[in-house]
């Protein structure tokens, strides 16, 4: 009997010991495979988190960005999602609606000063949070503005639509450039809604009616949208921009002096600065309803199937430290999510060469439609913008786009909660 008591006590002690030291594994998927710098940074965050506590150990599986969304969708179908995943901001509502993600429970006071575009909020709940944002600007040179006799626009006083038109005309008439404007037509996919729908929104239109998200009627084919469509088409009929662009022209054209202006993101800004020491990053023009640029980049969230959502949230909260925001910005050039982190980064601190992007993101950033239907709407918008650029009838193209978007919304029962 005495032996039995000792045995029970020993077993209990061992069991308690193993419970106390049990470390749960959290699987994580990330889109950065192939980007050596990015992988080093995310691995550092994971190593620090794993060393900082004993409850959880994060294990990373990285994917190439182009294959990431398909892999997540396949993983969800096969019931094989990880605990933590990253998601491109505009896709988050769809993944939340489809049941891939669950709301993220972190101390929201810690993200109070984050850039608006870094917060993935859907149906009033936070689902994802980004360590950085991206922004687009109109890239040019001070010497170009001077030579063309143009005012330098500012955040407070951006160019109006008329001023932008005059700038394009002056650049074209100067005969110095192959095209006045590089829009990045060589890029496809998400670039279209990210880069070009803000023009539409500045005209007063939108991809979908954001008050209800039930239809695109009026938003994408109303007066404002028609005005945008006609303006968009005239960029190509007037030969200000090319509707078909070679990838090499996109990558090298501005640096080679082929374009007076380039509509490009902050990720390409250091290259532009390297090409010309008088490079300027101008705010988006205001076509009547305020200057707009796209917001929201990659963000972290918790998968709906995670058995340890509290652990996953703990990791994400850990990653939100300013030092990591600054490290990512230093490493991959994106905009740190907080002013305090921006102050730690040479490029983005006050007076830094890219500081203008923090202001642009804060002042002009507008998230794409926050609806599960966005993934379809983005493709419809891409096709419509591309067709119009290639000479399609503006009104008919936009009407067709509205029909397609509305049909998709109807087919999915208005994307009501499942």
């Amino acid at each position: 009997m005495k032996h039995l008591k000792w045995s029970v006590a020993a077993v209990a002690l061992i069991g308690w010991g193993s419970l106390a030291s049990a470390t749960e594994t959290l699987s994580m998927w990330y889109h950065g495979a192939g980007n050596e710098v990015e992988m080093k940074l995310i691995n550092q965050v994971i190593a620090d988190f794993n060393a900082s506590q004993t409850d959880y150990a994060v294990e990373l599986q990285s994917f190439p960005q182009a294959a990431y969304n398909d892999s997540v969708t396949a993983g969800a179908l096969a019931g094989n999602l990880p605990d933590i995943l990253d998601v491109d901001g505009p896709n988050m509502p769809n993944w939340a609606w489809a049941g891939y993600m669950q709301p993220l429970t972190i101390d929201e006071s810690k993200i109070a000063n984050f850039l608006p575009g870094t917060k993935g909020i859907y149906n009033g709940k936070l689902y994802s949070i980004g360590l950085w944002d991206a922004a687009i600007s109109l890239v040019t040179r001070q010497s170009t503005l001077d030579a063309l006799g143009l005012r330098t626009p500012t955040l407070e006083q951006p160019w109006t639509g008329e001023e932008f038109e005059a700038a394009l005309k002056a650049a074209k008439d100067s005969g110095k450039y192959k095209y006045a404007l590089d829009l990045g037509m060589a890029w496809t996919g998400e670039w279209y809604p990210y880069a070009f729908s803000p023009f539409l929104q500045s005209f007063g239109g939108d991809i979908v009616d954001r008050t209800t998200y039930a239809s695109a009627e009026g938003a994408l084919n109303g007066e404002a949208a028609l005005a945008w469509g006609n303006w968009w088409q005239h960029l190509f009929t007037e030969d200000y921009a090319q509707a078909d662009q070679d990838g090499a022209d996109r990558d090298n054209g501005f640096g080679a002096g082929d374009y007076a202006f380039s509509w490009n993101g902050n990720w390409a800004a250091l290259g532009a600065l390297k090409a010309f020491d008088d490079t300027l990053f101008l705010p988006a023009p205001d076509f009547g309803k305020g200057p707009k640029i796209g917001a929201a980049s990659w963000q972290f969230g918790v998968s709906a199937k995670s058995a340890h959502p509290e652990g996953a949230a703990k990791f994400i909260e850990f990653a939100l430290q300013d030092k990591y925001l600054a490290d990512f910005s230093n490493g991959i050039g994106l905009i740190p999510a907080t002013p305090s982190a921006a102050a730690m980064v040479d490029n983005y601190k006050d007076g830094g060469p890219l500081a203008v992007f923090f202001g642009l993101s804060n002042a002009q950033g507008m998230v794409r439609p926050v609806t599960p239907g966005y993934v379809v709407q983005a493709k419809v918008f891409e096709k419509a913008a591309n067709d119009i650029a290639h000479g399609a009838d503006v009104a008919a193209t936009l009407d067709a786009a509205v029909d397609e978007i509305d049909a998709d919304i109807a087919k999915n029962n208005g994307y009501a909660a499942q």
Partner: protein, 292 residues
């Protein structure tokens, strides 16, 4: 008169070879561009892209892109995975599909024609339409390994191999070829008392070199170029093939030199395999009219 005829023949030969050389040059331009570009820095590659320099190894030439490609991605692992998956699938496919075609061609059994029709009908079904049901199936299949029974085939080589071993096109190729073999050979073997398996192995297969080469090359290309299925079933890097690996190089700021270096590296197994089988492949095209 004879002299003129001789001159004409010579001229025709020259013209014919000139045209053939021109066609060969046009078809080899992409390969030359890829290999030459893999030796240039991205900036020079893009600058040369619009001139004839794009096809010449001139300027700042080095192997740096190859070193950088190996740093960016586990290139050797991806090539190994693709060669393994493709090799095993091709060998298994040749064995299984030829045996099936033998049964469809030479053995009389009830429902044979209907079964062959159903198999051929699968040729019009695109893989994309069955990808999701196949994924759901593969994620629940059992497997008996060293650790006992496990469920789900995701993240493995077998999930990339087994679904592609048998296919309608390969069976069709063998059936068409077998139909042209002299029936007397099979009858003679039967009269001699040979079993069906012995006829398959000792009579039919030794005569099937051209169709084996054609089927092998077509299967090789399909398997080596797999992209959609691997990204659906391989979440772990250690099982990824070359085409998924290619996406590692498409970052926001694309390193075109590295992309060309990677493409050059992954093209080597394809070229080697094709060159090894090309004589038999051409013979098969000449005899069956089938081409890839």
């Amino acid at each position: 008169m004879a002299q003129i005829s001789q001159d004409n023949r010579g001229l025709r030969l020259v013209v014919r070879y000139a045209v053939l050389c021109l066609i060969a040059a046009i078809f080899s331009f992409p390969l030359i561009f890829m290999i030459v570009s893999s030796l240039k820095p991205s900036s020079q590659l893009l600058a040369d892209a619009h001139s004839f320099r794009a096809l010449l190894p001139v300027g700042d030439i080095s192997l740096q892109n190859y070193f950088d490609a190996f740093k960016r991605a586990p290139v050797a692992l991806f090539i190994f995975n693709s060669v393994l998956v493709t090799g095993v699938t091709v060998v298994a496919s040749l064995a299984l599909c030829s045996a099936a075609a033998f049964a469809f061609t030479f053995v009389m059994w009830k429902g044979r024609d209907l079964a062959l029709t159903v198999i051929l009908a699968t040729l019009i079904v695109p893989f994309e339409t069955i990808a999701i049901p196949l994924l759901l199936e593969a994620s629940k299949l059992p497997w008996i390994g060293a650790g006992g029974i496990t469920w789900g085939w995701l993240n493995s080589y077998r999930v990339q191999i087994v679904p592609f071993i048998a296919d309608g096109l390969t069976i069709y190729l063998f059936v068409q070829y077998f139909k042209d073999l002299p029936g007397e050979l099979i009858e003679a073997a039967r009269v001699e008392g040979a079993s069906w398996f012995a006829i398959y192995r000792r009579v039919v297969m030794p005569l099937s070199g051209p169709v084996l080469a054609t089927a092998a090359i077509l299967k090789f290309l399909v398997m080596y170029n797999q992209y959609l299925w691997p990204i659906m079933v391989t979440q772990e890097e250690q099982y990824r093939p070359v085409m998924v690996g290619l996406q590692y190089f498409f970052q926001l700021n694309r390193a075109w030199g590295e992309i060309m270096a990677y493409l050059s590296l992954i093209t080597v197994p394809v070229l080697a395999f094709y060159l090894y089988l090309q004589k038999a492949f051409i013979a098969s095209i000449a005899s069956t009219g089938v081409k890839g």
